[in-house]
Symmetry: C4
Subunit: 337 residues, 4 copies
């Protein structure tokens, strides 16, 4: 039983079913949740040998140095997983030297997270009220966030049967989306069915943070994002939580990379569970990966220490895989099963 399996089991045991399910579940029949992991199993490696000492795994993205090519994906409601919530996650990110992408739906205000010294990027669901949206962005920028990660795959909310079945639709007393608080008022997160590239252009004007487009799956959108000034593109299917039947994230990566011909850096998230998954993503052209659920299992199991343990375990996995896959890392080291 690997560390991740043990932590997920611990999380399942500790959390109320509805909260565990909120983190673990996905849209529809959860086929995309399963596919994200399964797709890595269908990609096999042809390692290089005798290529000398492995390179330092550290990467610098949008001016932020991460000690390894693995960032913390934005996930909501960390205080459902552990009383220390996002604060624990941010401290772990700082200690393990990687970037935390703060969810707009954080149950801890971004300013408190910034105080941990972690490099933060801020994830945004564009709100129908653009003035409100801009106030949130300004607040994140003021707090010191180094990039604005605009979630593009959520014009509406994905249908998640587990949440429906558990009747999970609101946070327990005392928890709130603190990044949406204005004085005593916390407005609910809304989705913008009409969201389009024009909104992205508007955001580019109102912030100095580099813009990241998260949720790109189609090469044509990658080119559009580059044309609209995206500084980084995140290939993602939202961990299978938005549209079931979406292809596995890693299967979507190569066409996006090809479309961009190096103009814009790319990350991928969804189904990363092994160091070889990370190295596969790098070989296929990603600069880094983002990690979602495993961070939450570490958080639920042991708070900040748990998140650190997950990150350290991944660092060791990445170092081992990097050494054994050798280099140069390019698509030729990956082949279908």
């Amino acid at each position: 039983m690997s560390l991740l399996t043990r932590f997920e089991a611990a999380a399942r045991e500790r959390l109320p079913q509805a909260h565990y399910d909120y983190f673990a579940g996905g849209a529809g029949d959860e086929s995309t949740v399963a596919e994200n992991e399964a797709a890595f199993g269908r990609l096999r490696l042809a390692p290089r040998v005798l290529s000398g000492a492995p390179p330092d795994p550290a990467v610098t993205l949008l001016g932020c140095r991460a000690s390894m090519p693995l960032l913390i994906a934005p996930t909501a409601f960390h205080r459902l997983a552990h009383p220390d919530g996002e604060l624990a996650t941010a401290r772990a990110a700082a200690a393990e030297e990687t970037v935390m992408v703060v969810s707009m739906a954080s149950t801890t205000p971004v300013e408190a997270l910034a105080d941990t010294g972690a490099d933060l990027w801020f994830q945004l669901y564009v709100q129908p009220d653009m003035a409100f949206t801009e106030r949130i962005v300004a607040r994140a920028e003021k707090a010191g966030c180094r990039a604005l990660v605009v979630t593009a795959d959520s014009p509406v909310f994905g249908a998640r049967p587990r949440d429906l079945h558990n009747d999970f639709h609101s946070l327990p007393e005392g928890l709130a989306c603190e990044n949406l608080r204005e004085g005593d008022v916390v407005r609910p997160i809304e989705f913008s069915p009409e969201i389009s590239w024009a909104r992205l252009d508007r955001l580019r004007e109102v912030t100095d943070m580099p813009l990241v487009v998260k949720g790109v799956t189609h090469p044509a959108d990658a080119r559009l994002a580059a044309g609209h000034g995206a500084a980084l593109i995140m290939v993602s299917n939202h961990g299978g939580r938005q549209l079931d039947r979406t292809a596995a994230a890693i299967d979507l990566l190569p066409a996006v990379v090809d479309a961009l011909v190096g103009a814009v850096p790319v990350t991928v998230d969804g189904g990363i569970r092994r160091g070889t998954d990370v190295v596969t993503a790098l070989a296929l052209g990603a600069q880094a990966v983002l990690l979602g659920r495993p961070v939450l299992w570490g958080l639920a199991a042991a708070g900040e220490a748990g998140v650190r343990e997950v990150l350290a375990w991944f660092r060791a996995e990445i170092e081992l895989a990097t050494a054994l896959v050798g280099g140069p890392l390019d698509p030729s080291v990956v082949r279908p099963c």
Copy 2:
């Protein structure tokens, strides 16, 4: 458990085994019944993002407006599923604003269905007695049917082991194929092994209804149908009820669409169980899909209300999938697993 699963379970519970099996079963080893659904699972989506407000899902086909790109497929013997039979189905079609394709083997006369105000198309098995066939067509036209859907995949009757096993070969006392009634006489439906394109040409001469060819699976036949004046082509393997081992309907669609280069609109039916299935079909070039068994499960479970619930559930599924897949919808948003 999704709505469709619950309704099918209810139907299985309420109906005599032989009647449930008649609806649920298929030809041979029922591999095509299974393939129709499984094939959708092998097609994965690469959604577009930031493409703005989703379009109205309504479509107009052969002059009939449907509030969504999902029509009711012709299926026989609705009064086996529910005492209200086809009348309930037609009322649901009218209420939910979609087209009902009336089966020639309806246990309710087409005139009664027309009275519901639903837009009706009439499905025809060409009978060996052409004069009789023409009388049926004339009757459907007079009743107000807006299209004649000629089933082309049934020169003989498919072998269905469940019906054989259940010894199901006739309707219970009091039920009959009312569209074949002439006075007191209801002739049995026959199949025409010698049926050919010439019969289609003859039908085109005797009716003003646009002709639809149902059961096309091969691109060469799509071109032939277009050449013989078909106004719409239905890609279908008859829900796996005629020839086991036929490919999944959705797998057959692209070659047919390619062969027609837009000259004639195309629908597909077989295995549609999710909004993403519908959007996949549209992306691959269909104008709409047809829904068979799920309508029967709704009918069996709750009569008109059940059919309405099924249609409304699909509308919500389609709207969600349409919003999340974004656009433009073209084959590039679909990829093999």
Copy 3:
């Protein structure tokens, strides 16, 4: 449960385990036995419609008319399956009007089978003693056999774990390979590791029967066989009984057909269990198929009547599939899953 399944179950029940296993089993891990059937399941059909009355399924091969494109494959030791042995099989072949390929390892002499009036072809394992081989051939020709089917895939005997496990290596008292009897002596069948095309050339000189090469799997050998005067080529992996890991027979057919560009007719055997299997083989270029184990199950279950029932069941299956697949039958009606 289909007829074939019932008959196989009956055979399993009636026959001693070692004899059932001899018929049912195959070489090595029996993966090729399984593949022969599984491969048909991976091929899907795209039927043609409105193509008019289906053609007569009868075929004429090497001057022999068969009422359907399905011949009886050569299989050994029919008296292990039923006391009437090959006599029952031959009578069934005559009654159902198809060709029986008599095994050299028949437990009934070929002359007795010829008396049934069935059209017989004679299967030959070339013996190391060429003079003996030629006497066998002359005897078959004199008995009225219409073709000489040279098994090319057996330079040595395949290793069959079931026979080894059952210690099955000889016929019970009273049974013998009657076609190898010379007076009171019945020599054992031997294999010729050195068998080559030269032996085929020699056989062509000593008989007027047309030569059939059975066991071709590679297109280059199909061309060689044609060059050496083969009048018909049988694509076969010996029902998975010689070399485990050989590809499924139906998967090997297309390349052989392509290599021959129509110069020589081709049959295929291995895994035929449905009428659609037969139609698939015809669409991919075979003139006919051969049926092995199902004949034995019919024989074991009910003697001549059982074989007739199997043949009649296949005729009905073939007629149904022929009508529903329509035409013209060419490779475009078959597609991978």
Copy 4:
């Protein structure tokens, strides 16, 4: 149950769990261990027929004649499997006339193995201390080893969960890596993360033994190895023990063979369990295969006699498969499932 299955079962029963697991296990999730065997099952054969008497299976590689194209792969710690250890294996190799590749981690000194008369090649993990490495090489050469097999796939040690779980990290009292002994001191085997082609060049200078590079999986490295003077290249993923997710060895072979265009002979190891596996490898361009775990199961089950039984069983399997696949053996006799 085949001989190999029985011997593995016997080994599992006789050995302490930790030792059995050390031999049986692999890296990570052991998906590559499984893939090595599974990949052969996905390759199907199209045998040639009537190609005459099969050739002698003996091969000569680097001046060493082996009676069949199957060598003994280097595996560590044979005295964990049986008290006679590598001595039994070497005697079996000599008796069955094949090459034994001696592991650097042998629990018997190479000189003692040389005394058996077996043709030995010596496997080397390049040690960080190059002087020490060169002393080991000189000793192997002096003992009469006929080739130096440099393991290239192990810059670091693969993570093997079973060993971790069993806390297996050292040899029992009385056992040691005898090839690393210098007087009373046995230094531990170390890995060289910085190992590169320069080390190979250095080794070429200090020994007259031909150099073999073991662990090549990528065609570019095959070309590099040839350019650096490798006399033979071993395609290998270390039996799935170094990097989980590496492709199956047999799937990696064709690209390596293509890259070398015959300049350097190639072997493959990993997952060889049948004579058809060997013939498949030869058809895809390997000169021979190496056998790892099955040798250990024979050794554990019955010492020298067990290893001989395994080798003899493989010889029979290879002869049978060679006869039945016929020839010429080239990639056209292998096809994907």
